[in-house]
Symmetry: C2
Subunit: 332 residues, 2 copies
Amino acid sequence: MTQKEPITVAITGAAGNIAYSLIYRICTGELFGNDQTLNLNLIDIEPALPILEGLIMELEDSNFHLINKILFTIDPFEGFRDADYAILLGAFPRNKNQTRKDLLGKNSPIFKIQGKALSLVAKRTVKVVVVGNPVNTNALVTAKYAENIPKENIVALTRLDMNRSLSQLSRKLTKNVSNIKNVFTWGNHSASQFVDLSNGYLLENSKKTPLTELVDEEWISGEFQKINQMRGKEVLLKRGKSSAGSAANAVLDCLKSWIYGTETYVSMGVISDNNPYNVPENLIFSFPCTCKNGTWKIAKDLKPNEFCKKMIKKNVDELLEERRIAFELLKD
Amino acid sequence: MTQKEPITVAITGAAGNIAYSLIYRICTGELFGNDQTLNLNLIDIEPALPILEGLIMELEDSNFHLINKILFTIDPFEGFRDADYAILLGAFPRNKNQTRKDLLGKNSPIFKIQGKALSLVAKRTVKVVVVGNPVNTNALVTAKYAENIPKENIVALTRLDMNRSLSQLSRKLTKNVSNIKNVFTWGNHSASQFVDLSNGYLLENSKKTPLTELVDEEWISGEFQKINQMRGKEVLLKRGKSSAGSAANAVLDCLKSWIYGTETYVSMGVISDNNPYNVPENLIFSFPCTCKNGTWKIAKDLKPNEFCKKMIKKNVDELLEERRIAFELLKD
């Protein structure tokens, strides 16, 4: 097979656990194809550099034939150079005693610099997936300062929430997950997230059965939402470490949808401009999206019920407040 | 694509770091194909069960369409049931104050039980890859007690040693690793391991150049061997954790070679019966192997030089001593 000219994939937080799960899967060709060579630009903070060096030794020892070049750096202006893809995993984690405001205060400046760096040195067509929390506002800050990059190119990961909802439904219905369609989350990747089943259906033998006919409303608005909200904590409790493999998997799912297209709705945190759901402009908000030819579109034809509208409003309010805090902090 | 009936893949030490890297890659279909559904039997010790539960939650949340069923257990007689493949990652790690004998004392009884379990409940055609150290002797103990399983079905992983040698040569020669052929290790997976370059060549534009013409003998017998021996420690020092992703990758490489065949030599730790290199019978020894139709063969036509013969002898002596200790300990 003739190999394609290398593309450049930049990853921040590259010494972390999500990266450790993600990078190997990218190197096998699972995401970009078995003929697509790669320049990997691995970015992390200074104290993590030895870990990055160890990772690079292991990648060398894996002899991936698709790797053209690996670079590691603490400088986003070097790491994002000519990037075709940027996956922003790195962020300060939330401590027990920190408020959401503290967290925004720690992370907004990082994403401001990364936005500026992307703007200055990445390809204008770069596709950016933000994963570090608080992800919606981190992505918004990135978009604000990445002046030369279209806002459409910057997406916040909300796919793990969707994947978790699907997996829970699959167990509840004892049906294969690939038969469950059009389940997605609205709004913020936070405890306020709202999983919308009202458009979802089970596809069996070409027959579509609405999910609302298969699970009762009490379960949907109660246990189902709660399990989704608590899933991350539950995994952390069991493993003693936060979700890494499933987060990396969700990043891959998100990028596969974005690059190769979708047939049904998927959750993506995208810029809210021109949405038909009364979400104010200039927020990064999780919407049901469809993708085609490398671009996403917000699904336009849905009719959220009153409860859903209320939950969208709640998420809007939360994100407006996050934006206010972040932009206030970043004022020059 | 129509999916094939599930095969059963059993993994011990499934809560560990190598497993965490390995299992996701197996679930994508990278090893057994994108149409091969899987029963995953995850085995670990009691204290690790919560970690396993957390891993299973994450696998659920990754919605791999190839997973048919996941089972987790501490009992190898349950975990190996109907196994088509068994990957034995679990072993007591070596503490600073432990001798090799102490380590054999800890691990031999585990692999004895696992051998018995494989014999009793796995498919007779099961392919077993042993990874936990001391890997050669652990594999030999497994083979001894797996009376119903042909000894040819049990392989000790020495592929990571080969992969590390290849990656080092690739950097030394600044050549793509896929152009470097027939480099392999003899003997024990230990500090005594010997990487043999005397049959290796660089393939460029259909021209084969012997590696011995490209790198000088002093480097081969000095720095090259030393870097290979120290590579694992070096990674541990940098990462603060031992090699996991590259070890998982080597397991996949080993199984791909075994299942799908090879064109050149690869390192596999296999039963020494009927080898032409004066290695006594009934040892698990790393030989240059070729694979075809799911079976391996020791390369027969090599002419080890005097130094290589000396190194083979050194490895034989070490493995005879390990075998003596292990079998002595296991006497009923």
